[in-house]
């Protein structure tokens, strides 16, 4: 079985669940012996040189796609990169900023823009860029052998669809989130149309939860017959990072929000619950780890609520810093308004941090040893936060059972489910 995977970021540069999921799934498929050509967009002169060695020395010779790269730990995976500023969770605005940033970087690196005058490695707006990416993917795919195409989230759907059309191979689109999760009812019509096209063109649609499956069926009009649920797993790395003892005063409790600070993640509900908690107990700090378009609003809101000194903003965290923050935390809260899956609570449990999760999340379908709340029920969120902080046996029981439960959610099982869907898609294609 050979898979052309249209994926995203690899560690250590991971900005969210999408990258984590692509990595976990690919690694597990690799161990099963599935051969994968993993195609991903990279920026010119990426600051984030990773162990995948996404260097672009061949840039002059082959300006748009680099030659294959191998990684020692992944024996059956070949990486192909396409130079593009695409990145998960972009919006049209942040896309423009990113282009400007990267131009500035390039100018700084090269001293001038002369070399770039003729080779445009990006398009002026995000949607054209998604289309440009698709064209490049088709050219790249022409050099590759594969049986199925597996595309992750909307920005790769046009590429997946184009490659499928050109190659005649079955297409699987993997829905990690939908426009309704990200934007509520204010959907971006262009993105919605691309998502809808991808799902309808695909031979199989993989949803990360039944919650997402329902959205795919009801909002995108996809027939339920071709929508399968494959839950995410969790990478067990609780002790891989050598984390020195942190110097936190243990008389103060730490409640953690970890994720992008966007409407979807419900940061405002977190802050309003924090306010309620602080009315009942004083020795608590609320840490908001992450960045996003509501970050400034969240800082303002904390101040407006009069709890500014009790809420700490760390900005975006990665790698060891994430482990450190988990080590500090007494409780992790995910008040997401709409969360297709939600890997972070699994990572929290893996790090022995009990979790409160929104009932409007895919992960609540697989976790039983977690406290569950409606995201809008601020009183109940506060009630449960206080309970965990005030009654130690609650945290003890949640931790011990939760940690055990998380061990059962393995990428290996997700990969096996995917492999089975590949087989079915192949049979269906014949």
């Amino acid at each position: 079985m050979k898979v052309l995977m249209l994926g995203w970021e690899f560690p250590p540069f991971i900005s969210g669940g999408l990258g984590t999921a692509c990595y976990g799934l690919t690694k597990a498929l690799d161990q099963m012996g599935v051969e994968i050509t993993f195609v991903l967009p990279t920026m010119v002169q990426s600051r984030y040189a990773t162990h995948v060695k996404l260097l672009t020395p061949g840039m002059q010779r082959s300006p748009r796609s680099t030659s294959p790269i191998k990684v020692r730990s992944l024996r059956n995976v070949v990486f192909r990169t396409i130079t593009s500023p695409l990145q998960p969770y972009l919006t049209d605005n942040t896309y423009q900023k990113r282009i400007e940033q990267s131009l500035a970087q390039i100018r700084a690196a090269h001293g001038q823009t002369r070399q770039f005058a003729g080779t445009l490695d990006y398009s002026g707006d995000m949607y054209s860029e998604v289309q440009r990416y698709a064209d490049l993917a088709v050219r790249l795919a022409a050099e590759e052998q594969f049986d199925v195409i597996h595309a992750h989230d909307w920005m790769t759907y046009p590429a997946g669809a184009a490659v499928a059309r050109a190659s005649g191979k079955p297409l699987l689109v993997h829905v990690h989130s939908t426009e309704f999760d990200r934007s509520g009812e204010h959907v971006n019509q262009v993105i919605y149309d691309i998502e809808r096209m991808g799902m309808h063109v695909a031979d199989r649609v993989i949803a990360v939860s039944y919650l997402t499956r329902n959205i795919i069926i009801s909002r995108y009009g996809v027939s339920g017959d071709k929508v399968e649920v494959v839950y995410n797993g969790v990478e067990r790395n609780g002790s891989n990072w050598p984390v020195g003892d942190t110097t936190i005063k243990r008389d103060e409790k730490v409640v953690l929000f970890l994720g992008r600070i966007t409407m979807q993640k419900g940061p405002d509900y977190f802050l309003r619950a924090a306010k309620k908690v602080l009315e009942k107990m004083d020795n608590v700090k609320f840490v908001m780890a992450g960045s996003g378009d509501l970050m400034h609003r969240a800082v303002e809101m904390a101040a407006e609520l009069g709890i500014g000194s009790k809420v700490l903003f760390t900005g975006f965290l990665r790698g060891e810093d994430v482990q450190k923050i988990f080590k500090m935390a007494d409780l992790y809260v995910m008040p997401s308004v709409s969360e297709p899956f939600g890997i972070a609570p699994l990572e929290a449990l893996d790090n022995d941090v009990p979790v409160i999760i929104s009932k409007q999340s895919g992960v609540s379908e697989v976790l039983t040893h977690a406290l569950k709340v409606d995201f809008w029920d601020v009183d109940e969120i506060a009630n449960k936060i206080i309970a965990v902080l005030k009654y130690p046996p609650l945290g003890i029981t949640l931790r011990s059972h939760g940690n055990y439960e998380v061990r059962k959610l393995r990428w290996k099982d997700s990969a096996q489910r995917c492999a089975k869907i590949y087989e079915e898609a192949l049979v269906g294609a014949v």
Binding site: K276, K280, T368, H369, L371, K372, D379, E380, A382, N383, K384, I386, A387, K390, Y391, P392, P393, L394, I396, T397, L398, H401, E405
Partner: protein, 414 residues
């Protein structure tokens, strides 16, 4: 000779209402839900089952007999929400074929945490039986058939009981059969009746299970199994929840028809009869001593306490509850005492059980909460309020004392 001894446990807890840490109200119970469940179970089980038992007693002219253990917390709810059930129990009491057993009024685990409280609750239950049914219980059953040698010794020392009921667990009986009367280790006069869990569970748990090899269970088949006891036992103790009839096993499963035909089938064999626990104790001598140093119960396959005290939340909640006993009793405030005691009902701790939680089994079915964690949080929030009331009472009492002393001091100086 094979005597069939039926004992039915009749109980519903007083369920707690949703209570957050922000609540300040001293009313802890979900009256609406309790009323609703009480009426539902009355209609599905208590009323039709009582009617059936009464008919059978009449039909067999006193040869059919049963025993009930009804908790005080259920009786209070029946009085409030379904008084017609009480009158049918009263009618049963008047037949002379029905024995009422003694237990803790609050269906509590008090034996494990406070002997004083335990004895007070048993006495309160005995008085209630006398008042309502004109009977003084002579047989004791502890909550969930929880039992060990110490319980037997305590019950014997109370002097008002002839026998105690418990689970015929394999690990205490070994090769011995539950179909005899035994003596508890260390007791002189008290007797021990042990549940035949295999035959009891055939009715209570397996009756409607279509995967069971013996399904469908008919009255004549069951009577045949009873007949086989003739010659190697005196008594078959069939102990089960009364809610088996119509609630755990729905009417549609045929459970009432089964029960209707069972006495006739059993009495077809001339050596068979029905006896109440007291009659069993009088009729058959003990054939040996049973030693139970560790606590047993009738729950789950473990037959231990893990369903109520198996995790950190459960043991924390119950310890915190009994910790305030002395304080609660020092006020002489009936309302506080009653609230505290209703929180002792074992069901509250059962809801916190995480054993099998992920598998969605029987524990989940009877659980009004979404998860064991919710029930613990709710319980602890209420306990927090109760503790707060204690502090208030204490300081009020203290203030009272101080002002009295002050008054005395001023009057002395006058």
């Amino acid at each position: 000779m094979a005597s069939v001894c039926f004992y039915f446990q009749v109980h519903q807890p007083t369920r707690l209402r949703h209570y957050t840490v922000f609540d300040n109200n001293a009313h802890y119970f979900d009256d609406r839900k309790n009323a609703e469940i009480c009426r539902k179970v009355a209609n599905k089980c208590y009323l039709p089952a009582n009617r059936l038992i009464l008919d059978l007693i009449r039909q067999f002219d006193g040869r059919f007999k049963v025993a009930y253990s009804i908790t005080g917390v259920l009786l209070e709810q029946l009085t409030a929400y379904a008084p017609e059930v009480l009158s049918t129990f009263d009618a049963l009491a008047r037949t002379g074929c029905v024995e009422f057993l003694g237990e803790t009024y609050y269906h509590s685990l008090s034996f494990l945490y406070s002997r004083n409280e335990f004895v007070e609750q048993v006495n309160k239950h005995v008085q209630t039986m006398q008042q309502l049914f004109g009977q003084t219980p002579r047989i004791f059953r502890n909550t969930e058939l929880i039992y060990n040698n110490d319980l037997a010794a305590l019950i014997e020392s109370m002097g008002c009981f002839d026998a105690i009921l418990s689970e015929g667990a394999d690990h205490i009986l070994g090769y011995r059969s539950p179909n005899f009367v035994y003596s508890p280790k260390g007791c002189n006069n008290l007797r021990l009746l042990l549940k035949n869990y295999s035959l009891s569970d055939d009715i209570a748990f397996r009756f409607s299970n279509r995967d069971w090899r013996e399904w469908p269970l008919t009255a004549d088949k069951f009577a045949h199994w009873i007949n086989r006891v003739n010659g190697n036992g005196f008594v078959v103790n069939l102990f089960m929840d009364y809610e088996t009839f119509g609630e755990h096993q729905w009417k549609e499963t045929g459970i009432f028809d089964f029960m209707q035909h069972l006495p006739g089938e059993i009495l077809k064999h001339p050596d068979n009869n029905f006896k109440t626990p007291s009659e069993v104790v009088k009729a058959y001598p003990p054939i040996g001593v049973v030693d139970v140093p560790h606590v047993i119960s009738w729950a789950d396959i473990e037959r231990d306490l893990s369903a109520w005290l198996g995790n950190a939340m459960q043991s924390n909640a119950i310890h915190e509850l009994y910790r305030i006993e002395r304080k609660i009793k020092s006020f002489g405030d009936k309302k506080i005492l009653d609230d505290w005691r209703k929180m002792q009902t074992s069901d509250h701790f059962y809801y916190m059980c995480t054993k099998y939680f992920a598998d969605g089994d029987v524990h989940k079915y009877f659980n009004p909460y979404d998860s064991p964690y919710e029930s613990y949080i709710n319980f602890m929030n209420i306990l927090g309020n109760l503790q707060g009331r204690c502090v208030k009472q204490s300081s009020a009492a203290l203030a009272g004392q101080v002002s009295k002393q002050h008054a005395m001091a001023t009057s002395a100086t006058d």
